[in-house]
Symmetry: C2
Subunit: 354 residues, 2 copies
C-alpha cells in the first residue's frame, strides 16, 4: 500500500466524546451561554480533533507550497511567470506578507518548492526552502492534462511527507501557496468539484480587468472541455486541471488529518486544494479550519461545499498563507477560552435566574 | 476650562499626509494591489492616527469599566445584580474571558470600578482594580434620569483621566465593560443617538427570552418617554439613560483621541459609549477601531452611524473587551504589513505587466 492509500485509511472523524466534554466545560464558564460564539465552536472542534481538553497548539507552521503553471503562458495573470521564483526568494529572505504575519502568530514559515519554473537550488542548499520538486511547472491545462496521474499522486504524497516530517515539532498547520496563474487552476477545480458554472467561480486573481477575466473564463472552459475531469475522482481533477502546489496542499491537509492535528486552510487556492483532499477522504474535512473568506470570486462556493464558515472576512486576496497566519490567533483564543476561563463554581459567580 | 472641554478641544482629525505616505508605501509592496484589503485600510488609519509610518502599538491595555444600573431591578437581565461585583473579582483573579484573551494579545487588563453596587475596597487596596467610583450604581432610567449631569461629566472625565494616566506606558487602548443590565442602557442610547426604533436596537443581552425582551423594550420606551433625552447632547443622553461605565468608556475614547492614540472599541455597549464620544467630539470617530460585529441585535445600527466596519464577526456577545483583545492581533498585523514587507524594488520582484 502506498503512502497515499495508507494515509487515507488513517483518517477518522473527530472524536464526539471529546467534543462533548469540551462543550460541557464551555457551558459552565463564567459568561452567558456560548457568549464567545464562533470561538467556542472552534474550541469544540479543536477538542474533537486533538482528543484533548487542552488541545496542543503552541507549535505552529505555515507551509507555503510554490509551483508554476503552464497556463500562465496563456495570458491569464497580470504578472509574468518569473514572479513565482522571485517571490520564493522573497519568502526565504523574510520580506513577504506571510513573513510579516506569521511571526506575531508564533508560526514558522516553511517554504516548499513543489515545481517552480526556475533554479532555486541555492536556497535548497542553504536550507532556506525544501525541495519536493516534481517538474518545472505543469503543462497548460488548456492544451491537455496539467500533469500525469503519477505526478498528481507524487504531489499529494509530497504534502503528506511534509506533514509527517514536521509532525514531531508542529501542533497546528497552516496552508499557503505561491504560483502565478494558480487561481486559474483553482477555479477549474472548484467548478468541477462543486459543479458550479465557471463564470461564478472565476475572479480577478492578482487584479486582471474584466476583459482579461473573460479570457480566463474561456481558457478554463476550454480546459474542462478538453480534459473532462471526473468529479468523482480527486486525483483525476488534480491531474487534469490542478497544480503541483495544490496537490501538495491537499496532501498536507490529508497528512494533518491522519495525524489528528488541525490544519488551517488559507484562501481561494488552498480551499481548492481542500476540495481535492475532501474528495479523496471526506473525513479530512473535520480537521480543516477555514481561515477567511477571500475577496476572490467564488471562494464562498468552495467553502459552502465543505460546509465551512470562515473565521475572518477581511477582503484578503494575497494567499501565501496570510489568512491562515491571522487565524492562528483565533485558534489560540479558542484554546484559551477552554483552558483559562473559570467556571461559575470555581469563581463563585451567581448563575442565571433560570 | 474643565478637563472635558480641554480634551474635546484637543481632538483633531487624522493626519491626511501620513495617511498618504502609508498608502504610497503599501502600494509598492510585493503583492497585488491592496491584496491585504482591510488590514491595509487599517494600516492607513493607524498611520493617520499616530502620524507615523511605524505606528507604535507594542504596549496595549484593555480598560474594563464596571458599574451597576438601577434598571437591573426592573427585570431586564437574566442575571442578578450581584454578578457585577462577582465578575469584577473574577477579572481581578484572572479567571474571566477577557483575561484569557488579553494575555496572548499582549494586552494588560486594567479594571476600573466606575460605580459597582458592592464593596470592592479590598481589591482597590490590593492594587487589583482602580476606583473611579461615582455612586453605587445609577438610578433606574425607567423612573427618571439615571444620573445627574454632574455625574455624567465626572464619569466621562474619569475615563479621560484613565487614558491620560496610562498614556506614558500604553500605545493602544481597548475598551471593555461589565455591568448587569447595561445592554438596556446601551439600547436606549443607540435608539436616541441613531434615531432608531427601540425594537430594532434591543436584543437578548445575556440571554433573555422573547417575552423578557418585550418587557425590556417596554422599559426602554418608558425611559425615553419620561426622560426625553436630547439627541443633540451626548451628555444629556448619558445622564438620562446611560451608565457610569458607559460614560467612562466614552471618556477613554475621547482621551485616546486627544492623545492621538488608537482605541479599539469592543462590542454593543462600548459602541453605545462611542456614540456618546462621537456626539461630544465628532473627530474622535477617527481614532476608533471597531473590533467586531456583536451578536447583539442593533449593533450594526450603531456601527453604521459611526461609519465603521468591524474587523471581526464571530458571534461574540460577552463584552468585557474580549472582541477588542482579539482585534489587537489585527492591529499588530496591519502595522507589520506597513513595516516588514519588502517593496517590489527592495525584493527585485517584477511588477504587473500593466
Amino acid at each position: 500500500m502506498g503512502l497515499l492509500e495508507q494515509t487515507l485509511a488513517e483518517i477518522t472523524p473527530q472524536d464526539t466524546e471529546w467534543r462533548g466534554r469540551a462543550t460541557s466545560r464551555l457551558e459552565q464558564l463564567t459568561m452567558p451561554h456560548w457568549a464567545l460564539g464562533r470561538l467556542m465552536d472552534l474550541a469544540v472542534d479543536l477538542a474533537g480533533i486533538t482528543r484533548s481538553l487542552d488541545p496542543p497548539i503552541a507549535r505552529r507552521a505555515v507551509v507555503v507550497m510554490a509551483a508554476d503553471h503552464g497556463v500562465a503562458l496563456e495570458g491569464v495573470s497580470k504578472y509574468p511567470q518569473e514572479v513565482t521564483p522571485q517571490m520564493v526568494r522573497n519568502f526565504a529572505a523574510g520580506g513577504a506578507g506571510i513573513n510579516a504575519l506569521a511571526e506575531p502568530a508564533g508560526a514558522k514559515v516553511v517554504v516548499v518548492d513543489m515545481g517552480v519554473a526556475g533554479d532555486l537550488e541555492d536556497l535548497v542548499k542553504a536550507g532556506k526552502i525544501i525541495s519536493k520538486r516534481i517538474a518545472a511547472g505543469t503543462r497548460s491545462l488548456a492544451q491537455g492534462p496539467a500533469m500525469t496521474r503519477e505526478q498528481a499522486i507524487r504531489s499529494v504524497e509530497a504534502g503528506i511527507e511534509m506533514a509527517r516530517g514536521l509532525a514531531s515539532g508542529i501542533d497546528v498547520f497552516g496552508t499557503g501557496e505561491m504560483g502565478i496563474a494558480n487561481t486559474t487552476s483553482s477555479s477549474a477545480i472548484i467548478a468541477v468539484l462543486c459543479q458550479a458554472p465557471v463564470e461564478e467561480v472565476t475572479g480577478q486573481g492578482t487584479g486582471i480587468d474584466e476583459e482579461q477575466r473573460r479570457h480566463k473564463i474561456a481558457v478554463i472552459k476550454k480546459a474542462l472541455a478538453i480534459n473532462r475531469p471526473d468529479p468523482a475522482s480527486g486525483l483525476d481533477v488534480l491531474a487534469k486541471v490542478g497544480g503541483f502546489e495544490i496537490g501538495g496542499i491537499a496532501g498536507l491537509i490529508l497528512g494533518a488529518a491522519a495525524l489528528k492535528k488541525p490544519v488551517i486552510v488559507d484562501g481561494f487556492i488552498s480551499t481548492a486544494a481542500a476540495l481535492i483532499a475532501n474528495a479523496l477522504a471526506p473525513n479530512s474535512r473535520e480537521y480543516m479550519i477555514a481561515a477567511h473568506r477571500s475577496a476572490e470570486r467564488g471562494h464562498h462556493v468552495a467553502l459552502e461545499h465543505l460546509k465551512k464558515a470562515p473565521l475572518l472576512d477581511l477582503d484578503l486576496r494575497l494567499g501565501e498563507g496570510t489568512g491562515a497566519a491571522l487565524a492562528m490567533h483565533m485558534v489560540e483564543g479558542a484554546v484559551r477560552i477552554l483552558t483559562r476561563v473559570a467556571t461559575f463554581e470555581e469563581a463563585s459567580v451567581s448563575k442565571a435566574d433560570k
